[in-house]
């Protein structure tokens, strides 16, 4: 009897302890989740802070890279353009700088920063060529397009950066020497840029990773990209989501490698033709280009009689004398008026004769 009572007591206390244990378990779980929350918040804060710092750092680098590219262009156009060796060296520096600028833009994009704003629209062909210039093995890229459409100014940089990232992947993960093709095609909702490589393709795991990074729902944490970080798809995903276009890499190229597709919707396209780079501004006030090799003497301004469909000035056919540069020209002295006139008439006569001859034959007067 006493034993049974004792047993009952023990059972009650065991149940009580059980309940206590369960309560503690729940409390523990609550605390764990609270801690996880706090940790998550701290992580999010620190990620946001890191991104902010990186973003403003990158902004400085981006501006410097852009400035550098402009100086290189100026040197190439105005100083060393006529020297093939010097120009080739400048192009090498320019090429490296282009890749450097793209990296800075990529990190900026991942951190929610800006890429930099273009002032004018650009043909989709030029955007593709711009992307081509931002990767190491640009000479393996071939662009085929039948589409004559422009990209709005705001979309120029993002599309170029995304395309460059995809081209970088395509050239890095395929055999050296194999071509990487860009085909640009019109589709009912916009245009498609299709990038095909002849590499080995991606494993299922790599495809899943790419699909996750390219999905608009994913928010990318910069510490999750590995070390060294693989940023290509992450950058593409962030920019595509932000600017409203689509990127996919889930198909196989005709060469067995990866096929990446960028789909640009109508809203990022325009039929407005981009302005021809050099002439538009320069011709407006002076009648001839403002930039150009300083060492080259320019002929006298020529009468412009209209504009070609491409926006270039049309000029009247004229005798060769009109463009003869005068490298040895001295200040004409007033008392030599007669001589000047005589030499001009002589040059004119020779010029028209030469002009008539060379329009039908080539060779004898070749330099």
């Amino acid at each position: 009897m006493a034993l049974r009572k004792q047993n009952d007591d023990l059972r009650t206390s065991r149940d009580g302890l059980h309940g206590e244990c369960q309560r503690l378990h729940m409390e523990y779980a609550a605390l764990r989740s609270q801690q996880a929350h706090a940790l998550e918040e701290v992580r999010r804060d620190s990620e946001a802070e890191t991104k902010d710092v990186l973003k403003s750092w990158m902004r400085t680098l981006q501006v410097l890279a852009d400035e550098q590219q402009r100086s290189i262009s100026d040197l190439a156009q105005q100083k060393y353009g006529n020297d093939p060796q010097m120009l080739a060296d400048l192009m090498t520096i320019d090429h490296t700088n282009g890749q450097f600028g793209r990296r800075a833009q990529g990190i900026a994009a991942l951190c929610g920063g800006w890429l930099g704003r273009r002032e004018t629209t650009a043909s989709v062909y030029d955007v593709a060529r711009s992307a081509q210039g931002r990767i190491k093995h640009f000479d393996r890229v071939q662009i085929h397009t039948q589409v004559n459409v422009s990209v709005t100014s705001t979309a120029v940089e993002p599309v170029a950066v995304v395309l460059a990232e995809l081209l970088d992947n395509a050239t890095n993960y395929s055999a050296p020497g194999t071509p990487v093709e860009i085909n640009i095609q019109a589709v009912p909702t916009g245009i498609c840029l299709i990038i095909d490589d002849a590499g080995l393709g991606m494993s299922q795991e790599e495809k899943d990773r790419a699909a996750a990074l390219l999905s608009p729902e994913t928010s990318v944490s910069i510490t999750s990209l590995g070390n060294p970080p693989r940023v290509g798809f992450a950058v593409a995903g962030v920019l595509a989501t932000r600017y409203g276009f689509k990127v996919s890499v889930d198909s196989v190229s005709p060469y067995g490698g990866v096929r990446a597709v960028i789909l640009l919707p109508e809203s990022l396209l325009t039929n407005e033709a981009p302005e021809p780079a050099a002439d538009a501004a320069a011709f407006a006030d002076t009648g001839r280009p403002a930039t150009g090799p300083r060492s080259a003497p320019m002929p006298a301004p020529v009468q412009i009689i209209g504009t070609t469909p491409g926006g270039l000035p049309k000029r009247r056919r004229r005798p060769a004398v009109a463009v003869v540069p005068e490298p040895y020209a001295q200040e004409p002295e007033p008392e030599h008026d007669g001589e000047v006139t005589a030499s001009r008439i002589g040059a004119f006569a020779r010029g028209t004769l030469l002009g008539r001859n060379t329009t039908t034959t080539e060779g004898s007067q070749d330099q």
Binding site: D66, P84, R118
Partner: protein, 124 residues
Amino acid sequence: MTGHGEEAPVSSELVRSYVITGGRRLPSADDLSLHTLVTLAPDRELPLGASPEVRRIWDLCAGGYLAVAEVAAHLGLPVGVARLLLTDLAEQGHLLRRAAPPPAQAADRALIEKVLHGLQTRFA
């Protein structure tokens, strides 16, 4: 959009010159000097798939002789790059080229005066 502040403008050229040349070797400056004059050969068709730069050269050179330096300036490209494109077109037979005529020599004033003087004394 998470960026604060103004977006900095980008003003470097969109298409870099090494992309236009395709990374090819640049021709020597002697091949087509700055002063060499070029024009389109008669009855030529623009090659299929011509790049925008080649198309612009085509338009420019259709109007008569232009100096190489002038073509480069119109295109806004370094002379060496324009020279490569022009060399391509010349090799395909699309371009005629010739050296700039030498600057006219000033006539010998003393000689002309002598001739004039002689004519005056002979006929006046």
